[in-house]
């Protein structure tokens, strides 16, 4: 039920977001362009009334951006659900794994040293960001395993430590390359302005892979809400579940951050809102959070493009402006709960 409504809402928001912008295209034309790409649809007949420039703007420029925003928003939200389940902490967020900082460091290196090339649609900044995220992930896992056998706290601490280390390194890079400061800073704030269909394809593949594992592990994650020992006493292979879930989450976050920069709070607030609506069962919560996150991000990206034309507001700033007050509200509610 909720899933159906959200799916319809997502389609409407996507079409709407593709229609608005510096060149305004009627909603119906935007819808026709999207429909024309579906299989078994006569595209010529569908596009008869739509002008060529409009087709170009929507299909080549806006749709990749809108869809990438949807995939990243949905992916981050789903990753947030899994993180909250794994760490049994409503405030856990993929950023604590340090992966986002790793991606940012990779991107900062590429920008600061002027390594800018594009290889068959893959830009160097994107590549560096992804590699940075993956290397950080390996480092965090490595340290976490050495540091302690209680992997949860270990990963958390290792992630936070790596994260602040890398943030410091990024600051140094910015100080030494003041002329690049703005570019690095803007990358970190997050944006979908560099979206291409190649990025969409890459993101989609990683996302589908991760989602399969998430939903596969849904029931195990439910039981893990009672802690490792109780979950294990009911038959969960705790170690295997944790490893698979953390690796899948990390890959998903690495992919997301590398194509869009650091976009905060989606992974935190969307799971909370969705949990209030559909309850805590992960097999339901994960796909629905994906839909919720996708809608939210497409909407935020639309605001970022259209609020103050011709300039763009970083989408990360918009999600934070909406997310931070909600975060405070959660803390306030938690405190109230404690007082009772």
């Amino acid at each position: 039920m909720a899933g159906g409504i959200l799916a319809i809402l997502l389609v409407i928001v996507v079409v709407w977001a593709a229609a608005v912008g510096s060149v305004s295209v009627p909603f119906s034309h935007s819808a026709r362009i999207v429909l024309s790409k579906l299989p078994f649809v006569n595209s010529e007949k569908m596009l008869a009334e739509v002008s060529k420039p409009d087709q170009l703007i929507i299909w080549n420029i806006r749709l990749p951006r809108v869809i990438l925003a949807g995939l990243v928003g949905g992916g981050l939200a789903a990753a947030g659900v899994v993180m909250q389940a794994l760490f049994r902490n409503p405030l856990a967020d993929p950023q604590v794994l340090g992966i986002s900082s790793g991606a940012a460091f990779g991107a900062a290196v590429a920008i600061a040293f002027g390594i800018t090339f594009t290889l068959s649609g893959i830009s160097s900044i994107w590549l560096f960001a992804f590699v940075g995220a993956m290397l950080t992930m390996l480092l965090v896992f490595r340290v976490a395993r050495i540091a302690t056998s209680r992997s949860v706290t270990g990963i958390l601490l290792a992630g936070i430590a790596c994260s602040s280390m890398l943030t410091a390194a990024i600051t140094l890079l910015m100080m030494w390359n003041r002329q690049k400061l703005e570019q690095i800073y803007l990358w970190m704030l997050g944006s979908f302005s560099s979206a291409t269909w190649i990025k969409v394809g890459f993101m989609a593949i990683v996302l589908v892979g991760a989602m399969v594992f998430f939903i596969l592990l849904g029931r195990d994650l439910d039981l893990l809400s009672f802690g490792d020992q109780e979950a294990q006493s009911m038959g969960v292979s705790v170690k295997k579940t944790r490893t698979v879930a953390v690796v899948a989450t990390s890959l998903l976050v690495a992919a997301s951050v590398s194509v869009s920069g650091i976009i905060g709070f989606v992974s935190l607030i969307i799971p909370h809102i969705m949990r209030m609506i559909v309850g805590p069962k992960n097999r339901r919560l994960i796909p629905l959070s994906f839909l919720g996150g996708a809608i939210f991000m497409v909407f935020c990206d639309m605001i970022s493009r259209t609020a103050v034309p011709p300039n763009e507001i970083a989408v990360g700033a918009i999600t934070q402006v909406t997310g931070a007050p909600f975060f405070l509200y959660l803390l306030w509610k938690e405190r109230r709960k404690g007082e009772r």
């Binding site: 809400s225 802690g227 109780e230």
Partner: protein, 261 residues
């Protein structure tokens, strides 16, 4: 199938601990009995149970379920044999009571299998048995300590295992539910449905409901056998350093601690 839980020279000495937590404990929890695992705080009772749940690995010796080492069982297979009622649940769970109890059906499910009508029936019966059916729709996290403990017992029952290990199952319960839970488990043992190990500190409950006793002190087994023979003021004074007076009424013994010096 003879499925005793047997500790064979079980020793546990993690590198982080100064002294060993368990030292060569050998004891056979026999099926068809309700055994009380006794001992002062920190004597190794919970640690001993945790070996059978494969939550920890012994330094030496083994914990056997039937003929096999507990560690060699696949998690789901072990969970179809042993259920565990932890002392305190760590769940700050947003799941409601019914969902929590249904979780116990996990070891009987393949990855994509949904809960069947049979599962719901088992969960309902378990909830009714311990009197939590009335609040099956309440969030687990919102329950009081005693209510939670009963839900955990219902969950263990819904796991439909031969063995139920209860770690201070009555510590948060009022006297009415203490008696009900002990009666319930005793009844299940008498009917041949379950075998139990109970960790607890109330000797009058042990005397009334447990037919076997195993006593640990400083990680060593100091006494074991039939409750009537083993549970004596002399042993209790040795182990707990408290003197007890025994009163007898209608064939049952009552242990009253002497509080004066």
């Amino acid at each position: 199938m003879a499925n005793n839980l047997e500790a064979q020279k079980l020793s546990y000495h993690p590198s982080s601990a100064k002294s060993p937590i368990l030292t060569e404990v050998s004891y056979n929890f026999e099926e068809g009995h309700m055994t009380a695992l006794l001992g002062p705080n920190g004597s190794g009772k919970t640690t001993m149970l945790r070996h059978f749940l494969a939550q920890i690995k012994s330094t030496a010796g083994a914990a056997l379920i039937g003929e096999k080492d507990a560690l060699t069982y696949a998690p789901k297979e072990r969970s179809r044999t042993i259920a565990w009622v932890p002392q305190n649940s760590s769940g700050e769970s947003a799941f409601n009571v019914e969902e929590v109890v249904l979780m116990a059906r996990y070891p009987y499910k393949s990855t994509w299998e949904a809960d069947s009508e049979e599962d719901f029936r088992i969960a309902e019966e378990a909830m009714r048995t311990v009197g939590v059916y009335e609040f099956r729709n309440r969030e687990f996290g919102s329950l009081s300590g005693g209510e939670r403990q009963r839900v955990l017992i219902a969950r263990a029952l819904a796991q439909t295992t031969q063995w139920v290990l209860l770690d201070e199952p009555t510590s948060n319960l009022d006297i009415k539910y203490q008696i009900e839970i002990m009666k319930l488990m005793r009844g299940r043992v008498d009917e041949g449905k379950s075998s139990c190990v109970v960790v607890m500190h109330d000797f009058n409950m042990v005397e009334k409901y447990c037919d076997r006793v195993a006593m640990l002190k400083n990680g060593q087994l100091v006494a074991s056998g039939d409750t009537r023979e083993v549970l004596t003021p002399k042993l209790l004074r040795e182990v707990y350093e408290v003197s007890f007076e025994v009163l007898e009424k209608d064939g049952q013994r009552f242990f009253v601690p002497r509080t004066e010096n």
